[in-house]
Assembly symmetry: C2
Homo-oligomer: 412 residues x 2
Amino acid sequence: MKQSKLFTKISKEISKEETSKNAQLLIRAGFIDKLMSGVYSYLPLGLMVFKKIENIIREEMNNISGQEVLLPALLPKENWEKTGRWKYPEMLKLQNRAGKDFSLGWTHEEIITPLVKKFVKSYKDLPIYVYQFQNKFRDELRAKSGLLRGIEFSMKDLYSFHKNQEDLDEYYEKVKAAYFKIFKRCGLEKVTFLTLASGGAFAKYSHEFQTETLSGEDEIYFCKKCDLAINKEIIEEEKHICPECGGKDLEIKKSIEVGNIFKLGKRFSEPFDFMFRDKDGKENPIIMGCYGIGLGRLMGTIVEIYNDEKGIIWPKEVSPFSVHLIAIESSEKVKNAAEKLYKNLQEEKIEVLYDDREDKTAGEKFAECDLIGIPTRIVVSERTLEKDCVEVKKRSEKESKLVKINEVSSSL
Amino acid sequence: MKQSKLFTKISKEISKEETSKNAQLLIRAGFIDKLMSGVYSYLPLGLMVFKKIENIIREEMNNISGQEVLLPALLPKENWEKTGRWKYPEMLKLQNRAGKDFSLGWTHEEIITPLVKKFVKSYKDLPIYVYQFQNKFRDELRAKSGLLRGIEFSMKDLYSFHKNQEDLDEYYEKVKAAYFKIFKRCGLEKVTFLTLASGGAFAKYSHEFQTETLSGEDEIYFCKKCDLAINKEIIEEEKHICPECGGKDLEIKKSIEVGNIFKLGKRFSEPFDFMFRDKDGKENPIIMGCYGIGLGRLMGTIVEIYNDEKGIIWPKEVSPFSVHLIAIESSEKVKNAAEKLYKNLQEEKIEVLYDDREDKTAGEKFAECDLIGIPTRIVVSERTLEKDCVEVKKRSEKESKLVKINEVSSSL
């Protein structure tokens, strides 16, 4: 894409209301725009990152046999009354002109359970794994963390339906592995920890995926003896003793919850009377699991981790483009060489943002390039062309190198 | 995809509340599920069609330089008050716990206008074309037409920003052409007509794209003299006389509005004080256009047009799969041949739904295949294998033919 065509522009000021690093950087670089507290628009560059994250998650969900659906955001009161969750204080509620009550979905167990029930009669129909990407809504009173805590936010939610506990346990482990793959592909592998969390009535523990960062709103406790990560709620219940080994030497770290997985058991199948016939013809309740990842939160977390004083440093797989090609000085020679390289790279299926603007200085272009944070910068100038070269620099490194212009794509 | 893995199943009953053909067929075949009146879930097959339509629209929007964004669904009252549209009766409204007023977006002029304003100062920044796919909400009291009229529904909305009327007029024609391409790719070319509609304060007329079908809720009038299509509102204003040629011989047809394009002029730039500096340094108001297509409505319209007594007949580009491969009789020989063909077709990037189910009769499989409506059916059986063949039948044709098994993919 030619940068001269991009309708967004870099902003020099940082809005005073935005105290979070992720919102400051993403707004300044033109990835997102704030409509109001906790509600953001995704602009072209931001939507590209969002779609990359979505596709990574989709691939890993499909790899564990997930089937994608799209459930509504507007949900009827009756479904929530069945499970006693109509009273949930953070649910946004509304009425239509005829006085019918609705809520905006903040989770979809109440919808997916009766839906899947329509297609299941026997153990032969199980297991079933269904996921979606959908906007969720939560009446969040303290939405001050940019993309980390939204009133409107996109979630991937996966629901699994099983004939028994063993089958759920087995799939739960598969989802765990898929989640680690997702966080690895998003560049968060080394800083993301499987963390014990409260499990509700059915399982002793559920699990959160917590990403360590100083700006996190959560706290995780690491047991120095058995290396377990435990969330704050559990550690307080257990009176600051590791529930696994009894160790008391705990290290506290700030973190962001980037995912959670939960054994629901019969919590939702019972109120919806969702049963199946087993091999012996006996009716049994369905056993369920649910598994969530917030897409905007994940994007915000990546920015919280990957930035420096100059801007964002996108991990490769989620970057809006692979290469930021910059032409400096607008002589015909430079322009032609840059245009040609731009076309060649595109033909090689390399995604390029091409800074073809003529009204910006080299300094401005470099500063904006660092702020946007595409992994590889390629500069074409009179000086580099004298040696038939371009200058190649990784965003994450300080040094640049000269590369022969006809060897650029193979060097990437 | 193996049909044995698909969690949805064909339903034999038609729900009595569903009076529309599109909802009846799509629900029976497992494409969608009704949550409540006007609110549907997209199931795996339905979401595949939905995504194909979305991608066709995306490609054609990108071809006319559209830049994709994603605006929120939850919108603040203040923006609507600026344009006097907070009183719109079909807008769903809600309050959070702090008493702040929101609406659910049914259109996004009030959001995109101040957003784009942030990036535009001079004529050099224009024109700008921005589009999104987003859920819209409308407090629809008579939502009885399946996907044709929803309370929650997905829209593609494109907004264009221009320095003058001529520039808008030129782009408006480009969008017209892009819309015809979209409807053509969706199989609706011959039955979709550009129709004169009411233009509001700024332009004399806007345009609707109306698809002729007996089940349509709209009416269009064709002037037999000049072949113009005119919507009901205009024709009543004009007292049943063609506004173009004065002709009085009009033919009435039932239709569905599948798209609309509208010259907004200064209707939204003025309330948001959205100005730009022209070449002479003078401040002028921005001239805008907007252009909508409802994705679910388009999907429902396709089904209304393309069906017979046996089920749906998907046009090629929007079908969930290209081929429905059916193995009948579950001998090892048939199974192995079908499996092999399934793999070969997938390697050739042909999308296949493979009916590998062993608990269904040939008759049941054929009936379900006709209901689902994939363009090409391929049957593997003992009988066809005797001649090293498979039986190939188009959903839209009555006759089948035998094709050598190693010539199948080239014949498609």
